[in-house]
Symmetry: C2
Subunit: 239 residues, 2 copies
């Protein structure tokens, strides 16, 4: 019987190298093969490479860069990740341990989720190692709790329809919108209508040296947020 190999999906946090967990550091050091998501021509996400490069000598590790084409819809996303799953299956030879690096948390909107469906049918032991997600980092950057007491939290991509976002704002005390950079004008208009501009915060590149926290009421029209941005909508702020 073929021996099962171990693959760790590791979240390395939102950008601050100090937000890595002790477990992530240990597994990155101990593993035999490191897998990085990467652009078609680039060698991996620069943030991820920099963070991991502070922990280990990248040149002395077996590294594999995996490209994930940008497509929409769960089925297409899974299909597009199949070639990367094949590379992992091939490179993770028997008795080897692999680490797949993801920025943020490996359980939340991570490329690990795209690979998981294909990999779970192979003889690989999959382990999700959680990291600090940009959701938590967005609240800590804005400087207040995400939820407390009996509050409810909704997390959704900002690319959703305006109506669905509106219904979440109506039903939940806290809403976090991910990937907000391309929908900022629609969201602003919605928050204005609901009178929540003053209690909504755009957080760009949370926890990195370039972090920006902007109250939605202060953002000039036509503002283009960084692509690593989340929006934290609170109905009440600090009351």
């Amino acid at each position: 019987m073929k021996k099962k190999r171990d693959l760790y999906f590791i979240g390395i946090g939102p950008g601050d190298p100090e937000l890595l967990t002790l477990k992530a550091v240990r597994l990155i050091k101990e593993c035999d093969v490191l897998f990085f998501p990467a652009g078609k021509k680039t060698k991996g996400d620069s943030i991820a490479l920099k963070i991991v490069g502070d922990i280990i000598d990248i040149d002395k590790k077996q590294i594999s860069f995996l490209h994930f084409p940008m497509v929409k819809g769960a089925e297409k996303i899974v299909s597009a990740a199949e070639p990367s799953a094949e590379v992992i299956d091939k490179e993770l030879s028997e008795d080897k341990t692999g680490v797949f690096i993801t920025v943020g948390c490996s359980t939340i909107y991570s490329t690990a989720g795209n690979l998981f469906v294909t990999l779970k049918n192979k003889d690989i032991n999959i382990h999700f190692i959680p990291g600090i997600s940009s959701i938590n980092a967005t609240a800590s950057a804005a400087g207040f709790p995400l939820v407390y007491s009996e509050e409810k939290l909704a997390v959704l991509p900002a690319t959703y329809s305006r109506d669905r976002i509106e219904s979440c704002i109506d039903d939940f005390e806290t809403v976090v919108l991910m990937k907000v950079h391309s929908s900022i004008e629609i969201i602003r208009e919605l928050l204005d209508k609901k009178d929540f501009l003053n209690t909504s915060f755009l957080v760009e590149r949370a926890t990195t040296g370039e972090e920006k926290v902007l109250c939605m009421s202060d953002i000039p029209e036509g503002y283009k947020p960084h692509y690593m941005s989340s929006l934290l909508i609170k109905k009440k702020y600090g009351e």
Copy 2:
């Protein structure tokens, strides 16, 4: 002018001492005063004390145990935390740095949220340092992503009304119910009606040595979950 003092709300993760961040470890070592939430007669949460005790010599640190009475409703929760806020204000004398320890993430259903409202009006610089929350830990323990692609996530206390929980299950691909131990029978009946028993997982004491992951379809009637339990409801599992 009185100098502002620094207080760090630090999430130490869900239980596994390896899930502390490097930042949490550094700040716990460096701070002058450590604050722990504690029972009325006990000396702090045993998990938190054990995790922090592995990092520093507790006996050599200035430590303050703070009691938070169990009450319901945001206003009462804030009032009940006022005496603890006063203790922090008093013990954190000028030029001192304090760390308030919370299990999980300091931004999510943490006692830090109860203190925050009172403390923000005092001359204290408040910093939320995110930790691994039990939400992410629940998904990693169950062994699959919380959300990927265009999925939406709802997080809410299981003590909500059955109707509101049902409407979340209808609208969201993934629902995480916190503090599920006292509502397990109502939730089970709801999941049965919706035919989601097979894709819902009760996770007790995630990431600790006593972690248990139970599919809801396998749980016997009358089962009493540990109080540190979350329920992960997925509409589809690994498809």
